[in-house]
Amino acid sequence: MIFIAIVECNLLGETVLMINTIEILDYLKSKGFTLSTGVPCSYFKNVINSLEKDDTLQYIPATREDEAIGIASGYFFGGKQSFLLMQNSGLATIGDALTSLAQLYKVPLLIFVSYRGLEPDADFPEHLIMGDVTENVLKAYHLPYWILEEENWQNILELSINKMNEISLPVCLLVKQGVLSL
């Protein structure tokens, strides 16, 4: 299979590289993921739109990110693998779910976390402090993480999924603006 990042125009007419959501979902399916859950971020608009139309990969809209960790962990205890989508603000919500459930019980989880609070969010002060501490929070949680990039995205995903399976623990992918949605 050949993977390409599609070229699209943003609102300003600039061309941008973006990962095709159907391709990334197909890739995740090929790696054995059969369910997804989380709380939306606008960065995941396209992915969640595609998931809602997908008959083979159900998306469970959680009310909170810690609940999403619960759902995904329960799914693993039932012998199956899911992935999660959440904003980095949700990293603050999942602390106990992560440490006293997923990590303690050795639950492998692939968590896509939108990286809010960087330059494009200059006008969104609500994201700035969490944006500043995001990578420190991930390190403090002992969560292995990668930054998802348009080029080589399948290599980055493969690395993270391999690591997740090898250690049987949650791992994160940080997703910046424009990588999965404009």
């Binding site: 469970i60 009310t63 810690d66 962990s73 205890f77 039932g78 899911s82 006293s100 019980y105």
Partner: protein, 192 residues
């Protein structure tokens, strides 16, 4: 009836294949000591037993999933009930053991006492909710009510007001990693 009486009775009622998730603290200890089989005894993640039950129900649609949750745990994760109602998995059974206390941490009051669980859960869209006050109930009648309720088809919530437990049980000797392994071994080989 006390919480431990309910769980002891469940041992006789539940099937060998039923998968139980128990909330942290006393409820998990009781599930470990009083139920048979290797169940999913939560030691932390207060507030998450219902969401874990939902994930399990989706992964194992042929099995019956029973969530045993204290009132403090249930209320902490209350919004996860609306997700459950929205997804509506027919194999998920939620039993709320309501002693109106955070008993595990020393018996502090929860906000449970004035809640009308039937109205609340119905309002979320789950019509199959039964609520019983077992506190002054004769054990035989209580057992009968349990048996009847557990046999119901489809998703349901069973809210049980119980007396405070008096017997303290030992800690669960298994490390969580062992809980995971033993639990997953129950359906090893069944999955492709």
């Amino acid at each position: 009836m006390k919480g431990a009486d309910v769980i002891s009775e469940l041992k006789r009622i539940l099937g060998d294949d039923d998968l139980v998730v128990s909330s942290n603290g006393n409820v998990s200890r009781q599930a470990y000591h009083l139920l048979s089989g290797s169940q999913l005894y939560l030691r932390g993640s207060m507030g998450l037993p219902v969401s874990i039950g939902l994930g399990l129900a989706l992964a194992q649609p042929e099995k019956t999933i029973v969530v045993l949750t204290g009132d403090g745990n249930f209320l902490m994760g209350l919004s996860s009930m609306s997700t459950v109602a929205y997804i509506n998995p027919s194999n998920l059974k939620i039993i709320i053991i309501d002693n109106q206390l955070y008993a595990t941490t020393g018996g502090q009051e929860t906000s449970s006492s004035q809640i009308n669980y039937k109205t609340m859960i119905e309002g979320m869209g789950i019509l199959n909710i039964r609520s019983f006050d077992l506190r002054d109930m004769d054990q035989d009648i209580g057992n009968l009510l349990l048996l009847e309720s557990i046999e119901e088809e489809g998703i349901y919530v069973l809210h049980l007001q119980v007396e405070e437990d008096t017997i303290e049980l030992d800690n669960i000797p298994w490390h969580p990693e062992q809980i995971t392994e033993n639990f997953k071994n129950r359906h090893k080989g069944e999955l492709k």
